[in-house]
């Protein structure tokens, strides 16, 4: 007992010590001040100070399964052949949290791969070194990369916001979405007479997108529900990406001054449209309800692959999974909104991809830059394309046979389907989760949206009222620089 009291006394003393120290050292200015008056002080390093030698060893972060790891070996061999004085040390890391811990401890590989949502917070924290000085020194031409990617992997070190300023990373790929259609289910529906000739034409048209109204109608026709035995249920679609609908209508979830767009009629329209699709007993019921999360998307993918969902909204990067399962599928573009004036909006989805960047602790900037250039070169993308994984990061490649027709690489994805994704890449916008420094604002929104879909929040108005304060606060907290005049 006496010992416990002694321990508690020591603990309390320590706590007091820190409190007193806090009073003496905390000046209340944790972010520092920048020259632009944004309250942001960039603490990153200048890669020109860390160029190091042009020969030697450069470490490279790789990840993925066995097949992907073999491709990295192939890429590294290609790079080493072109650069005989450089050896690449492969460092396998599959978790972003592990990578970030390495960045914090200064032990990360020289060249790292990161996912879209991580880029913003990592660039802002100074965990990466910008390649902009090298782009300028070498007159490196970035015009062949998808322009959205170049924009979104740039970070303004003065203003402290992403989407402009210095280039920090180059893309491994362009991860876009489309609608995968289970050919077996569609053909069966036609044979049963559930789909008319006209509807069949719509669902097999890989060039002209359906309108959302037509899409709903087709999805309903493809749906078979047995109230007494859900084992035999087939859904026409999974839940549509509401972002696509909103963007197609020319609107957005955020206003221009980064507030939740509570006045948007389009948002109301799409949420009501989506809710009707997932609500049992509704006239438009044709999609299973799964909350928006990675865990749920795996459930949906399993349902699509086991003939339980006919039209599946998902990413181009899932093609190897469908190929491995010997699925018979094709792809169609996302639907379009018919606006009030009768014109059609564009077919638009989002992108989510992986990019190559230089870690803060890299002292081999020159070699790292060479490696990134090679990985994102035409040759680099050609080697990577053996996986049939994604749309390449460079636009000029999409006309090459191996990219235009993935069947030459052994994929089920036909030429017309591949073209669907090229077209989707042209209009794709960054995923909401990666749009700002942190994804908390959209996670908060999706969380409440799930209650609207399950009926726990009764109306659109109640949804917006319940969530707007939290969403706006989350944006302000993660990106206060956006609100500086």
């Amino acid at each position: 007992m006496k010992k416990s009291i002694k321990f508690l006394s020591i603990l309390c003393s320590l706590v007091m010590l820190f409190s007193v120290a806090a009073c003496s050292t905390n000046n209340g200015d944790s972010t520092g001040t920048g020259g632009s008056g944004s309250g942001f002080k960039y603490k990153g390093l200048n890669i020109m100070d860390n160029l190091g030698s042009t020969t030697g060893t450069v470490s490279f972060h790789v990840g993925g399964g066995q097949v992907e790891l073999q491709l990295w070996d192939k890429l590294i061999a290609g790079f080493e052949k072109q650069n005989p004085g450089i050896k690449v040390e492969k460092v396998t890391i599959n978790d972003m949290d592990v990578l970030y811990t390495q960045l914090l401890s200064g032990t990360a590989p020289d060249v790292i791969q990161m996912e879209s949502p991580d880029f913003g917070s990592w660039a802002k924290a100074g965990a990466l070194q910008s390649v902009q000085p090298l782009v300028e020194r070498d007159n490196f031409d970035t015009s062949d990369y998808w322009p959205q990617l170049i924009k979104m992997y740039s970070f303004d070190t003065q203003a402290g916001v992403r989407g402009g300023g210095d280039l920090f990373a180059l893309p491994k790929d362009m991860g876009v979405n489309g609608i995968f259609v289970n050919r077996k289910l569609v053909n069966a529906a036609k044979e049963r007479g559930d789909l008319t000739e006209e509807e069949y034409k719509l669902v097999t048209d890989q060039v002209n997108p359906m309108t959302y109204e037509q899409y709903l109608n087709v999805a309903k026709k493809l749906t078979i529900l047995d109230p007494n035995n859900s084992e035999y249920n087939i859904y026409g679609t999974n839940r549509v990406y509401w972002e696509s609908y909103v963007w197609s209508a020319g609107d957005d979830i955020l206003t221009e001054d980064y507030q939740l767009n509570t006045e948007s009629e389009v948002l109301k329209e799409v949420f009501e449209y989506s809710k009707a699709m997932v609500t049992e007993g509704s006239e438009d019921y044709c999609a299973p309800y799964t909350p928006a999360s990675s865990a749920s998307s795996q459930d949906e993918m399993s349902m699509f692959m086991t003939d339980r969902i006919a039209m599946y909204w998902s990413g181009r990067w899932l093609v190897p999974n469908y190929d491995a399962a010997n699925m018979d599928y094709y792809c169609i573009p996302m639907p379009v909104v018919v606006k009030e004036d009768g014109t059609k909006g564009e077919s638009v989805g989002w992108f989510y991809n992986i990019v190559y960047g230089v870690s803060r602790n890299c002292k081999n900037g020159e070699m790292a830059w060479k490696l990134i250039q090679y990985l994102t070169s035409l040759e680099g993308y050609r080697i990577m394309n053996e996986l049939n994984y994604n749309v390449p990061g460079r636009m000029s490649l999409i006309t090459e046979e191996a990219f235009a027709n993935p069947q030459t690489n052994g994929s089920v994805l036909d030429e017309a389907s591949a073209n669907v994704f090229f077209n989707m890449a042209k209009t794709a916008r960054i995923n909401n989760a990666a749009r700002l420094t942190s994804s908390n604002w959209i996670e908060t929104f999706e969380s409440k949206l799930s209650l609207y879909f399950t009926g726990e929040i009764a109306s659109y108005e109640a949804l917006m009222t319940s969530v707007s304060k939290q969403v706006n606060a989350a944006i302000k907290k993660s990106d206060p620089q956006l609100f500086v005049n």
Binding site: A22, C23, S30, M96, D97, S121, N228, S450
Partner: protein
């Protein structure tokens, strides 16, 4: 003089023997614990090494953080399930100490879930709970009942987690209870029977006190296990729907290691210490209360 030298050598040998675990503990537990305590009172920039001591700001933020409180509330619900879990363990152990044919087979059957990886088991349960194609809803609809949103209804999701937790956790406790029940002195039961005590009276006045040390051990370890449970919550629903299965440990992970909360390490350490304190309070309360209900010399 000689004796003293031998004594010193003995001490030295002793210290050398205990050095590996002590050094390991210092390196991998004590130093990180102290460092995390320092972090919790500061804003630390790992890249520049700048440390800005902020006192209790992180703790004050946690106390004002609705999500952190929600996660604590959720774990309290999960802790409610601990009592149910212990009751089920004891119930199963009682059944499996009966002299019936095939009892060994049933013991093995109940123990198997405890041996399985929680990741694998959780992935299976995700499908058991699936709204559209899950076996549970299939059963309900075949009985003419409505489907339940096991993982999509905020009012049900935590209950689903508790059910799965009970299923997974029965085995270990059951084995300990079986051992405890076998050690219960037979003469007490014989005397009680002679005195005319019925089965309920024998259970409450003999069995429960006899296994109370086992119950105490299981209670403490299950409380700690429940609060620090991570993999199941991460995999099953990642804290959803609408944070109804968000636990403190999951929230700490999301804060420190994901872009959702901007990799906020220092705030995560403050929440970790509060969660640690929460566990200490619970365990201390259990220890204090144990004087009333744990009987070591029945």
């Amino acid at each position: 003089m000689k004796g003293s030298s031998i004594k010193k050598k003995d001490y030295l040998a002793g210290y050398l023997f205990i050095a590996p675990p002590i050094i390991g503990f210092m390196l991998f537990s004590l130093i990180p614990i102290v460092f995390s305590l320092v972090l919790s009172f500061s804003e630390y920039d790992f890249f520049t090494g700048e440390i800005n001591l902020i006192g209790f700001e992180g703790y004050a933020r946690a106390i004002e953080d609705e999500l952190f409180f929600k996660s604590l509330g959720n774990i309290c619900i999960a802790l409610g399930g601990v009592l149910l879990q212990i009751a089920v363990m004891l119930g199963v152990a009682l059944l499996l100490t009966a002299k019936v044919k095939g009892v060994t087979f049933f013991r093995a059957l109940f123990f198997i879930p405890s041996l399985c990886s929680s990741v694998a088991v959780t992935l299976v349960w995700k499908w058991v709970y699936n709204y559209d194609f899950g076996i549970l809803n299939g059963l309900l609809t075949s009985l003419g009942l409505d489907k339940v949103g096991w993982l999509i209804d905020t009012k049900v999701a935590m209950i689903s987690m508790i059910i799965q937790g009970i299923w997974m956790g029965i085995g270990g406790g059951m084995v300990m209870y079986i051992a405890g029940l076998k050690n219960a002195p037979r003469q007490y039961y014989e005397a009680a029977e002679i005195d005319g005590a019925n089965a309920f009276q024998r259970f409450f006045h003999i069995t429960l006190p006899c296994v109370s040390p086992t119950t105490f051990y299981i209670l403490v370890t299950t409380i700690i296990g429940t609060v620090s449970d991570f993999a199941r919550y991460k995999l099953m629903n990642n804290g959803g729907p609408d944070y109804s299965t968000l636990t403190p440990v999951l929230y700490i992970y999301q804060t420190a290691f994901t872009s959702q909360y901007g990799y906020d390490y220092t705030y995560a350490t403050a929440m970790s210490w509060l969660t640690g304190l929460f566990i200490i309070v619970l365990v201390a309360a259990t220890f204090i209360s144990s004087k009333r209900w744990v009987h070591y010399s029945v």
